[in-house]
């Protein structure tokens, strides 16, 4: 995400917080390393949705 969108480290934390709120996925810090790109984030959300 740093490279895809040019985010700084605080942008990234904001992104995680807003993602959690928007999609209600109970994101934890253990999930952060999985969200390394836009593609990876999309895949993560799809996987979460499939389990709900």
């Amino acid at each position: 995400l740093f490279d895809d969108l040019g985010l700084d480290s605080l942008d990234l934390l904001e992104f995680y917080l807003r993602l959690d709120e928007e999609f209600n996925v109970n994101l934890t810090e253990d999930d952060y390393p999985k969200l390394t790109s836009v593609e990876a984030t999309t895949a993560y959300l799809k996987a979460k949705a499939a389990h709900q």
Partner: protein, 343 residues
């Protein structure tokens, strides 16, 4: 609470905007020499094997290293040691390549005023304690560093003093604060953090609460001199270490699965031979279960916005912590009034 809700409070939104501008910084650390005049009890540098390397003394080699570092996105350098002031040409080469950073020094030798890095001058106690905790390399009692530091760095705006509280010097801070205040300098606080396997008598245990009280007392007595916040005082004096409270993003901890994001992606700690270990952190060989180090906290606490949006009070604490961190590390940054009040 959510971040958008918290940012509806005008003073919080204003402070958040103020500090957010600086999160573009990406830091790494560089031990620029393995030589020091002093041997401080529990010094992170002389624990482990770091000091056994063969120093690279060639400023051009350092310049090339920092050019490569700049190319990989590093915008801020921490120049540590042993004692960086002993290699002035290396400092100059670094400054000419990456001009944002901090030098950690004992202050016994003056760093040229053209090198406009932030300078952190370490203070370990008053005239009775400092010479005992910090001996000369040969073993005899060291100098009382503070008077020498004040003379070397009179009216020098690069300087912030860092008083390290240990298990023996809590009450010595009074004399030190007065001298620093009288000379128009600033001071912040560190907490002694024991290296792995070290049995130093300076370890804090039953003095943690008293240390917190002294920190708060100091802030109240010298509000324009002490660069700190109530929240800093709380988190750095808990019985549980920083890592225990917030987990740790440095590569050394991240490799153990603690938290693999943030600073862990880019931080390296280079040794004086220009090599680096993949298991880096800003205070390698410190026992993570006793880590309350101010430099570590600057990355650990600031990285956890997510833990600090659960209440307005916590968010206020986080904003104070980041504001304090920037004032300590960025030359010219002005700290604002603290927003968080102690319980």
């Amino acid at each position: 609470m959510s971040l958008p809700t918290l940012l509806k409070v005008p003073e919080l939104e204003e402070r958040y905007r103020k500090v957010k501008k600086y999160f573009f910084l990406r830091e790494s650390a560089y031990d620029v020499t393995s030589t020091c005049q002093l041997r401080c009890d529990g010094c992170y540098y002389f624990e482990g094997d770091k000091y056994k390397v063969k120093d690279c003394k060639d400023p051009e080699a350092w310049r090339e290293l920092l050019q490569r570092e700049r190319d990989r996105g590093i915008t801020y350098v921490n120049l540590a040691g042993a004692e960086p002031s002993l290699v002035p040409q290396v400092l100059r080469a670094c400054y000419e390549t990456i001009p944002l950073g901090t030098i950690f020094t004992n202050g016994l030798r003056k760093i040229h005023p053209d090198i406009r890095y932030r300078l952190h001058l370490s203070v370990w106690g008053d005239g009775t304690g400092d010479p005992i905790y910090r001996r000369y390399a040969g073993g005899r009692a060291g100098p009382y560093c503070l008077p020498i530091q004040l003379k070397n760095y009179k009216n020098d705006d690069r300087v912030i003093f860092v008083y390290t509280f240990n298990g023996d010097n809590v009450d010595q801070v009074k004399e030190v604060l007065k001298h620093i205040h009288d000379h128009g300098h600033k001071v912040t606080f560190n907490v002694f953090s024991t290296p792995e396997g070290n049995r130093s008598t300076l370890k804090l245990s039953d003095t943690l609460r008293r240390t917190q009280d002294k920190m708060v007392e100091a802030m109240e007595r010298y509000p324009d001199t002490v660069v700190y916040s109530h929240y800093n005082a709380e988190v750095h004096t808990q019985p549980v270490s920083l890592r225990g409270q917030f987990r740790c993003p440095y590569p050394r901890a991240a490799m153990e699965g603690s938290m693999q994001f943030g600073i862990g992606a880019s931080f390296r700690n280079y040794q004086a031979d220009l090599g680096y270990s993949a298991a880096s952190c800003c205070v390698p060989d410190t026992d993570c279960t006793d880590c309350r180090h101010y430099a570590a906290g600057s990355a650990i606490v600031t990285a956890r916005l997510d833990l600090h949006t659960k209440s307005e009070q916590l968010f206020r604490g986080w904003l104070d912590y980041v504001d304090t961190y920037l004032a300590i590390w960025i030359l010219g940054y002005q700290k604002s009034e603290n927003l968080y009040s102690a319980h």
